[in-house]
C-alpha cells in the first residue's frame, strides 16, 4: 500500500483553475453538485506499525457503525486486524443539510429585505419627499441632532394623512406612526442616554 506523504489535490474537481471564474464556481457551489448524504460513520485510526493514520467515512446505519464495517480496504491482515481496530474510534453522526440550507436562505432574505428597506428609508425617501413637497418643508421639520434623521418629516405626513381614509393611507398612517415611535426610541437611547446607557 503506497503511503502519501503529502496530499496532492491536483486531480480534485474542486481545485480552482486560473481561468475558471470565481462567479462560475460560486454558481456551481450553489447547486450543491456533490452528493450530500447526511448520515455518516466516521472512524479515526491512528498510525499502526508502518501504516499511517487514516480517517474513514461511510454512509452506514448506526448498528453497523464499527471498525470492521467501515474500514475498507483493511490495511492489515489476519490477527493484526483486531489490534488495529481496537485503536480506532468510530462515531455515528447525522445532520440535516436541508435544514441548514433553508435556514441560511431565510436569514439572508430577511437581511436583504431589511437592508433594502433601510436604504430606501435613508436615501431614497428623502429625495422623493423633497421632490414632491418642496425643499423648504424638509428643512423646517428636520431635527438636527448630529446624524441624519430618516423619519424627520413624520409629523407633517401624519397631519396631512389624517383627513383621508382609504387602505393605502391607513398603511401610510401606520408607517408614519411607527416612524415617530422609532424616533422617540432613538432619542431616548442615543441622544439623551436615558435607557440602555
Amino acid at each position: 500500500m503506497e503511503l502519501k506523504a503529502s496530499v496532492d489535490y491536483s486531480d480534485s474537481p474542486y481545485r480552482l483553475d486560473i481561468h475558471e471564474g470565481a462567479l462560475d464556481l460560486l454558481f456551481k457551489g450553489w447547486q450543491g453538485k456533490q452528493n450530500f448524504e447526511d448520515v455518516r460513520c466516521k472512524c479515526i485510526c491512528p498510525p499502526y506499525k508502518d501504516n499511517s493514520g487514516h480517517i474513514y467515512n461511510k454512509n452506514i446505519s448506526q448498528k453497523d457503525c464499527d471498525c470492521l464495517h467501515v474500514v475498507d480496504p483493511m490495511p492489515v491482515r489476519g490477527p493484526d486486524v483486531e489490534a488495529y481496530c481496537l485503536r480506532c474510534e468510530c462515531k455515528y453522526e447525522e445532520r440535516s443539510s436541508v435544514t441548514i440550507k433553508v435556514t441560511i436562505i431565510i436569514y439572508l432574505s430577511i437581511l436583504g429585505l431589511l437592508l433594502l428597506y433601510m436604504v430606501y428609508l435613508t436615501l431614497v425617501e428623502p429625495i422623493l419627499k423633497r421632490r414632491l413637497f418642496g425643499h423648504s418643508q424638509l428643512i423646517q421639520s428636520d431635527d438636527d441632532v448630529g446624524d441624519h434623521q430618516p423619519f424627520a418629516n413624520a409629523h407633517d405626513v401624519l397631519a396631512r394623512s389624517r383627513s383621508r381614509a382609504n387602505v393605502l393611507n391607513k398603511v401610510e398612517y401606520a408607517q408614519q406612526r411607527w416612524k415617530l415611535q422609532v424616533q422617540e426610541q432613538r432619542k431616548s437611547v442615543f441622544d439623551r442616554h436615558v435607557v440602555l446607557s
Binding site: 502519501k4 456533490q34 445532520r95 441548514i100 441560511i104 437592508l115 435613508t122 437611547v189 442615543f190 446607557s197
Partner: protein, 747 residues
Amino acid sequence: MMDFLEEPIPGVGTYDDFNTIDWVREKSRDRDRHREITNKSKESTWALIHSVSDAFSGWLLMLLIGLLSGSLAGLIDISAHWMTDLKEGICTGGLWFNHEHCCWNSEHVTFEDRDKCPEWNSWSQLIISTDEGAFAYIVNYFMYVLWALLFAFLAVSLVKVFAPYACGSGIPEIKTILSGFIIRGYLGKWTLIIKTITLVLAVSSGLSLGKEGPLVHVACCCGNILCHCFNKYRKNEAKRREVLSAAAAAGVSVAFGAPIGGVLFSLEEVSYYFPLKTLWRSFFAALVAAFTLRSINPFGNSRLVLFYVEFHTPWHLFELVPFILLGIFGGLWGALFIRTNIAWCRKRKTTQLGKYPVVEVLVVTAITAILAFPNEYTRMSTSELISELFNDCGLLDSSKLCDYENRFNTSKGGELPDRPAGVGVYSAMWQLALTLILKIIITIFTFGMKIPSGLFIPSMAVGAIAGRLLGVGMEQLAYYHHDWAIFNSWCSQGADCITPGLYAMVGAAACLGGVTRMTVSLVVIMFELTGGLEYIVPLMAAAMTSKWVADALGREGIYDAHIRLNGYPFLEAKEEFAHKTLAMDVMKPRRNDPLLTVLTQDSMTVEDVESIISETTYSGFPVVVSRESQRLVGFVLRRDLIISIENARKKQDGVVSTSVIYFTEHSPPMPPYTPPTLKLRNILDLSPFTVTDLTPMEIVVDIFRKLGLRQCLVTHNGRLLGIITKKDVLKHIAQMANQDPDSILFN
C-alpha cells in the same frame, strides 16, 4: 372597587410609558375576571367551554412560546455558525455550509491535517489561487478584518434605523419590566426581528460578546407578542409578567440546553414575583423550547450547545485547592470587570463618546479583528474556543492543546495516563495566555455598545482559559513530581490523575458567577452541560468562593449595576433595609413644602380638578371627605382622571367646567339651575394602603416590595398627613447608602 354595572371607558386602567404598574389592582382585576367566568360557566355549555379554554390558554401560550423561541434560537445558531466562518472562506461544495460541514463528507481529509479539505476555499485561495506564502496571509488577514467591519457596520446601522431598543444585553431592562415598569416597544415585533438579525451579525463579526443574554430578550419578545393573541394576558399587566418570566426561562434553556437551569435563572436573576404556578409553566415552556431546538439540530448529533462536556473522569480531594483558587480568580475578575465596565459605560453616557455610536462600534471591531487574527485562539469563535478548552484530550485528538508525548506501549481502554507536554502544548499555553489578556481587556469595552451583546460567553471564555492553564500546570506538576506526598497518595503512576478540561469548566463557572453573582442557577446550568452529578462539588466550591470574593469587593452583580447606572426605578428585593428611619422622615410633603394636593369627595368642580392636573405633575391624588377633616376616602390616578373628564365632556350631556365632581355613591344635594354633576366613583380606589407616620421604614420598604405598591398614604391619628411614593423610597435607600439620590430618574 370597580363598578361593573357601568361600561369601563377605554383607556382607564392602562398605563403611560415609563410608569410602574399597580400590581394590586391588576391582580384583583384578574381575580374578578376569573370569578365572573366561573360563575357564568354554570349557565350554559358555551360558557363552560369558555371557562375551560380560559384555563388552558395559559398552557397553550407556553407551548407557542417554546416553539417560537426554539425555532428562533435554531435560526440564530445555524446562521451565526455559518457567518462566523464566512470571514475565513467559503465552501464551494455548497455555499451554505460552514467549514466543519463543508468537510463533513469529503474524502480528502487526512489524519494529519483534519481541517483542510479541497471543498473549503479560504479567501486567498479564491482571490490569488494559493494558500501558502506571506501574500496569502495578508490577503486572508485583510478579508477577515473587512468582513468583521462589514458585519459590525450592518448590525449597528440596522439597530439605529429600525429598533434602537435592540441594543445591549436586555437583561437589566427585562428585570425592571418584570418588577412592574413599562417600556413600550421594548418587547415589540420590530425589536424582535432586529435583535435576531443583528445578533447573528454581531456574533459573526468576531467581537468579544455572546448571545445568551440577547436570547433571553428574544424569548421575552416572543412571549409578549404571543400574549396579544389571548385576551386574558393582553389586558392584564400582572398576568403578562408571569408569562414573561416563563419566556425568560425558555430563553436561557435554548441558550445552554439547560431547561432546569433556565427556570432557576428566571427565578433567581430575572423575575420579581414568581408564584408557584409560574414554576411549572416555565418548566414546560423551557422543555418545549429545548425540544424544538433539538429537533432542528443545529450542531448535529442532537447537541444543543457547542461546548458539551462528555468526559466522566473522577476528581480528587486535593484538587479542591486549585478549584478554590479558580473561584478566587473568578471573584476578582468579576469585581474588576463590573467596576471598569460601569466606569466606561458612564463615560459613554456623559461625554462625547456617546454621540458617535457607529464609529465606536467600528473602531472596537477593527481593533478586535486586527488583534485577533494572528493568534489562532482569538481567531476562532469564542464558543469553539470554550469547546476546545473543555475537551479532554484523547489519543486521537489532533489539536495543539492535545500535543502530548505518548510514551507508553499499550493503551488500556480510553483512559490515558498523565503525559508530559509536547511542544504544541507549550506554544498553546503562550497563545492562551495572550488570549486571556486580550479578552479581559476588550470585553470591558465591548459590553454595552449599541449592538446586541451578551456577557456569558466572554466570561466563560476567560474562566475556561485560566482554568485550562492551571489544569495543564497541575497535570505537568503531577507528572514530573509524582513522588511528592500529595500526588503519591492520590495519584498512582500511570493513571489518569488530573483532567485539565475539568479545570476549564470550573474556571468558566467561577468567572460567570463572579460577574453575574448567580448561585444555584449557575451550578445547575453547568451540571446540565456536563450531564452528570460527578462535578457538582467542585462547581459549587468554585461558585461559592467566587461569589464571596466578589461580594466582598463590590455589592452588586453586573445587571444590578447597570440598573443603577440607568436609574431605573427597581426596588431591590434581596437586600435588607437596615436603618431606623420612620415613615414621617421620608413622606412628602416635607416640613417646608406646600400642603399635600388633595381632592375633596364632592365639592370640587371640573375646572378645579383640571387646573390641579395642569399645575402639578403628580401621578395620583388622595381624595378626602373635606379639607377641614382630612379623612381619607380613597386614591385616584391622574391618567384615569384625564381620560374620564375628557370622555365626560364629549359624551355626557351638560357637563361643563362648573359641574361638580363627586366620588360618593349618590350625588350631593345641589341648588336648582346648576349644571349636572359628574360621578367618578368608578375610577376611585377605595382601598389605598396606609401606614401611620411612626411606622418604621423597614416595614414600609417591605410592604412596597411584597405588594408591589406605587404609593402609600401616611396618616396621623386617622387624618391624612402625607404620601410616600416608590421613587421616594428609592431615593431614601440611595441616600442611606450614601449614593446620589438624584440618579433615580423615572417617575
